[in-house]
Structures are given as structure tokens and as C-alpha cells.
Assembly symmetry: C2
Homo-oligomer: 379 residues x 2
């Protein structure tokens, strides 16, 4: 959907005109009361569920959560996925043409925030004729958008489902983002963010950024269980059914020695093929900047006083990126404001990634919650 | 000290001839029974204590621990610091001339292991006429060397002090090392490790490597306390005594916004000025490879059965790089072998870095232990 009216941004700049890529699933009911907005995290998109015709590998990023008969049941709810501004999956972003220059925006794309994304999503809902969401839902950075919705548009949200998220980044979170950004911006192929003009991509930096990211998505436990100290040679031999493989070290500083190295390099290579470097900078910065308590002297209780909806907050015990204690900060601040909050701390081994995985207890919590939401709205 | 005899390495290769830089503190007694070897970690050297004449900033890296009247008291003990082979502070390393080619070793420097370092240190002790150490001591990677001493030369060690260490790296530890190495090796200035010939240094990669390292040295708590979400502009203003500084965001993806970013960039820049890239690869690989249980089917109890000395093991509660549970693995395996072990788990907020800091409880534990060692040996 194209928007002609400029979007004023938190930075004071504005985006002249822009497009949002979005997908919907299920049917909007006559009362337009069954809409659920699903917000995406760092490298995901509007394609939250289902597969495209003739593309069996095109499964949406939250397909185990959203669809007919699934916890967020598209037989009952009208689900909307939107690609955020600045992303690289269809909505206006750094690789698109800057109408002021006729060249790709590149590093000149304005810095966007969680609040800006929420504002853009609200305009999309306006255009779809949806005045009030049955629920807004997201994990990680998507959870921040859900939380922001309850503060910017309290009258438009019935429920917010905030999963594996945090009320802001802590110093360590920012630190990891900064290292990733520096890897990208110091890659000679970055060209100050105008690499499109040079026909190159700062893949070295993107690979490093993704490797760092992956370490923070996984728990120590699951990494030890999946990879441990297994040597690549031993893993390859096991895969090929050989038992005679040497299990000695290669004694090399640059070759892949351990399975975990092979995994990280693979993830880095894959990511560098499809993700935009400027988008990476923008989205990690949106994470850094999110901090609803900032305009209340750091007081989250005051900040969340504006929310009026009901909440489901979910965290995962082994998530060290957005640890349960960060979710509990949100829960406590909402309770201080006498808001209705359900909180589930799921004992799962997978770290931050758990929010995307198929844990039955987690899925049951979300399913039950949406059952209750369904009873509230006229379906 | 120069060694003419080749050093056979764990990899099967050997180092033709080599030099070790070392320093000693205190006086070797007539029985030669008061020697304590101090092993260094990643970026340290043989200069463990004291300052060089006329160089007030040249304080040794463990000067708060070692010196006259200090926990490891050089009035009583003869302390030896050795720079490890492959390092960049004097001992033979990648920037030295390869006698086979007449060019700097660069990436051709053989891969060295903790065991190789211990063997080289043993030869140095031979040359100094020291047959048995009162103690061997180290933190982090230095602790691994201390542990290795007790296994390779059990008859030559009276006590081992193993601080903030681990019986091997876990998958997450290896993962962080690998990302750091990839940042270095994919820096175009690395030139496959032969950057000396090109008159350049892969500083971009070294900076990223050091930034990643620093994140893992600090605890989440201390990072939040020291930096939190403080903006750089606010910190600068506070330093200059101004209270009128804007505390708004810059809304930039590339400028320094938060204090933690400023700190990390500074640490990265400083490190890239003095540390050798090939040394970084070698030393992180030595960390990866250390695993005394490997030749015992992963059974640490069996591996440590070879040790005969007494042990002090120290860990720090907030160290998530080498967490207390890793030290406890060592303690348990030693107890299984009926070895005499003292274990202190220090409640300190500083993360892995705590082993270098001046925590009174930690210092008292080490002081008491060395008091006991002093009573055992003829001083």
C-alpha cells in the first residue's frame, strides 16, 4: 500500500512518501473486531504465515503460531503482517530511490524508531478501516512494537501479547548491536552506506554481524547440546555413516575445526546473501532507541500508565538476550498500574530463539489466551 | 633466553629455535624451592609486576597481586613471568623471521597449544636450575597452563592456583573466538596472515575482535552499572560540569550515541595499535584446543588423575565466560581423585575481569594460600 502523506518521524525528519508491504490471513468480520496485528523482529517480514503457491519453501516466519487451527487461529482472527519501514523485504527502505536525489537512499535513509513503525502500522489500519485491534502481538523487537502500540494508541488495542521482549536494551544488548554495526560500517565495501552505487555489498561485515547475533539468540545449554566441542571432521564422518574418521585436531587457526564454527559461518554466509546492510543498522538502532520510560525520567511505571489494554507477557528461562527479569519489569510496572496481566515464564532450553520454536507449553499459553480474546470480541 | 634445540609441538610440527622473554621478581633461595611460575592470559606478557625504571605507566598486568608484601609476596617467593611462544611481546612469534624463508612467519607460524607453552616454560625452568615449582599460578588461559603443568610435570609442581578458568571451552566460548578470528581473517588488510609484507595491519578486524572480547570479560551487571543506557553527550556534559546538555538522541546509526559504544570503540582502537593479528588467532586457538579430558574419552576425572599437587581453584560469581560451574568441574574431578583442593567462589560483580581486579576477599584467599605454601617450602 502506498501512502502519499509524509510520515513524521521521532527524529524530527519525515519520510516523504512510502509504501508498506503487508499480508493478511483469515477474514475481517463484519464488526471489524477480530483483527490481530503481528509485528516482526530483526530479519523477518510481513510474511508471517503460510506458503506462497508453488513455493513450498516459502513458509512464513511464525507459521507454527499462526494459521487455521493454530494458537493464533486464522479461522477466527484476521491477522495482519506488515513489513516495517527501513526493512529490506518490500516496504520503503534504504535500497529504494530517494525522491530527493533520484539515487538509492543508502545511509541517508532516515533513522526510524519503534514508535515510527507503530505510527506507520496505524495508518495502514486506518486504510483497512480497522479502528481497533483485538490484539497486537510480537516477539523480541516485535514485542517492543506491541508494547508501544498500547502506549501510543491505547484506545485502539484490546490485548497486547509481548513475547521474549524487554522495556529497553541494557548496556550489553547495545554493545552487541554496536559491534555488529561496526563490523558492517568498517567493511571497505560499505562505502559509507552507498555501496549500491558501487555494485558491491559489505558481506564481510554482514557475516560477522549475523554470527554475533546467532550467538546471542541461542542459550549456552542448547549450544553445548547441539554442538558442544564436536569436531567438524567427526560430524561429517557421522553424517556419512563412517566411524573410522580421525578425531584429531587439524591444528589450524583458519580452517573450520569445530561444528559450532561451521554452523556460524553457514548462518553468516546465508544472511549476507539476502539482508541489506543499511537495514541492519537501522533495525539495530531502533532496538537501541526503544525506551518508553525515557520521557518519564526512567520510570517505567509512569510510562506504562498510558496503557489500558490487557496483556500477555511471555519469557523464556534460558533467554539471556532478553532475560525473564526484563519481562518481569514490564509485568511489575503494569501491575503497579492495576492493569490486567497474564505472565508465563516458559522453562525452555533454546534461549531467545525459543519464541520462534514449537514448544507445546508456550503454544498452549498463547492458544488459551487467544481463546479468551475470541470470547471477548464479536466473532 | 634463546633455545637452540627444536621444540616439538602437539601438532606434530616443531619450532626450530626460539627465544622466550621472561622476568623474575624476588630471589631464588639456596634450595631453589621458592619459585612460582605465573602464566599469562590472552593479551598479557612476562611483565607481571612492577614498573620499569623511568616508565611510571609500565605497571605489570598483575601488579596488584604480585610484589613485595602482596598476596604473592616477592619478599618470600621467586616469581617468574614468561611470555608465551606465538605472542607478540618478545618471545618468538609470527612477526619474527622464519629461519626457513627469511621472511616473517605470519600465518605460517605453527599452531601452538597450552601444552606446548608448558613444555617451553619447563625448558626455561631447566635453564634456571629449578627442578620443582613451589607453585604455578594463572587466571583464565593462564589457569589452563597452571592446570596443564600439574598433568604434564606432576613431579615438578607443589601447588597449582587456577583462577577464573575452565577445563575446556564450551561451544559458546569457541563461537565468540571464531567470530573474532573471522573479523580478522576477512579484513582485506590481513592478506592471508602475511600483512607484514604489505606494510599494513588488519586493524578493522582487531578492533572488532577486541570489542567482542570486552563484552565477554564484563558482567551484565557491571556493564549496566558503569554504562547503562547513558548517552555519550550526557556523559561528556557531566565530565565538563555542564548540566544543560541535551539528553535527546542524535538519531544516527553510525555516530557514537551511548557511552558503552564509546568505551568499546576506545578499547578496540587501543588494542589494534599494539596487538598482533596472527597472535590473536594463535592464542584464541590455543584456548579452543585446550581439553585435557580429550584423550580420556572426555572423562575429566581420569585426565586429572595424573595431578599430584595441591590446588587452589578460584571463580567469580558473575563470570559468564568461565562460569563458576566450570571451576567446580575441576574441583569435583580433583576430589574424585582424592586430591587436596581449596575452592573459593568469590561473590564479585565484575565478571571475568574480576581475576585482575583488587577485590579484598579474593586477594585474602590468595594471600592465605601462599602463606600456607610458604610454610611448606624451605624459605
Amino acid at each position: 500500500m502506498h501512502f502519499e502523506a509524509p510520515l513524521p518521524l521521532q527524529s524530527g525528519a519525515s519520510l516523504r512518501d512510502y509504501s508498506l508491504s503487508y499480508e493478511t490471513y483469515g477474514t475481517l468480520n463484519a464488526h471489524k473486531s477480530n483483527a490481530v496485528l503481528v509485528c516482526h523482529a530483526l530479519n523477518a517480514s510481513h510474511h508471517v504465515a503460510g506458503v506462497y503457491a508453488g513455493q513450498p519453501d516459502s513458509e512464513g516466519w511464525w507459521d507454527n503460531m499462526i494459521g487455521p487451527g493454530k494458537p493464533l487461529d486464522t479461522n477466527r482472527f484476521f491477522v495482519i503482517g506488515v513489513n516495517n519501514i527501513g526493512s529490506c523485504f518490500g516496504s520503503t527502505g534504504p535500497m529504494h530511490t530517494n525522491p530527493d536525489t533520484g539515487r538509492p537512499y543508502g545511509a541517508d535513509f532516515p533513522v526510524v524508531t519503534v514508535e515510527d513503525w507503530v505510527d506507520a502500522q496505524a495508518r495502514l489500519l486506518d486504510a483497512l478501516g480497522i479502528t481497533r485491534l483485538a490484539a497486537v502481538m510480537g516477539g523480541s523487537l516485535g514485542g517492543m512494537q506491541a508494547l508501544s502500540w498500547t502506549l501510543r494508541y491505547p484506545e485502539r488495542v484490546g490485548h497486547a501479547v509481548v513475547i521474549a521482549s524487554a522495556p529497553n536494551l541494557n548496556a550489553e544488548n547495545i554493545a552487541f548491536n554496536e559491534v555488529a554495526r561496526r563490523a558492517i560500517t568498517t567493511d571497505p565495501d560499505f562505502h559509507g552506506g552507498h555501496f549500491y552505487d558501487h555494485g558491491v555489498v559489505p558481506k564481510r561485515g554482514l557475516r560477522i554481524a549475523r554470527m554475533i547475533g546467532h550467538i546471542t539468540y541461542l542459550s549456552d545449554d542448547v549450544m553445548n547440546e547441539k554442538f558442544g566441542r564436536q569436531l567438524r571432521a567427526a560430524a561429517v564422518a557421522a553424517k556419512e555413516g563412517r566411524t573410522d574418521a580421525s578425531v584429531d585436531y587439524l591444528f589450524s587457526t583458519q580452517e573450520v575445526e569445530f561444528q559450532i564454527e561451521s554452523y556460524l559461518r553457514y548462518q553468516g554466509d546465508k544472511f549476507a546473501e539476502y539482508f541489506d546492510a543499511n537495514t541492519y543498522l537501522l533495525i539495530t538502532r531502533a532496538l537501541d532507541y526503544f525506551d518508553p520510560a525515557r520521557h518519564f525520567g526512567g520510570d517505567l511505571n509512569q510510562a506504562l500508565a498510558q496503557a489500558t489494554c490487557k496483556f500477555l507477557i511471555v519469557s523464556f528461562t534460558t533467554d539471556w538476550r532478553f532475560a525473564p527479569k526484563r519481562s518481569r519489569e514490564i509485568v511489575r510496572a503494569l501491575l503497579q498500574n492495576n492493569r490486567q496481566v497474564s505472565y508465563a515464564e516458559i522453562d525452555a532450553p533454546h534461549g531467545h530463539d525459543a519464541f520462534l520454536l514449537n514448544d507445546p507449553r508456550y503454544k498452549n499459553v498463547v492458544r488459551s489466551y487467544f481463546d479468551a480474546v475470541a470470547k471477548e470480541v464479536s466473532l
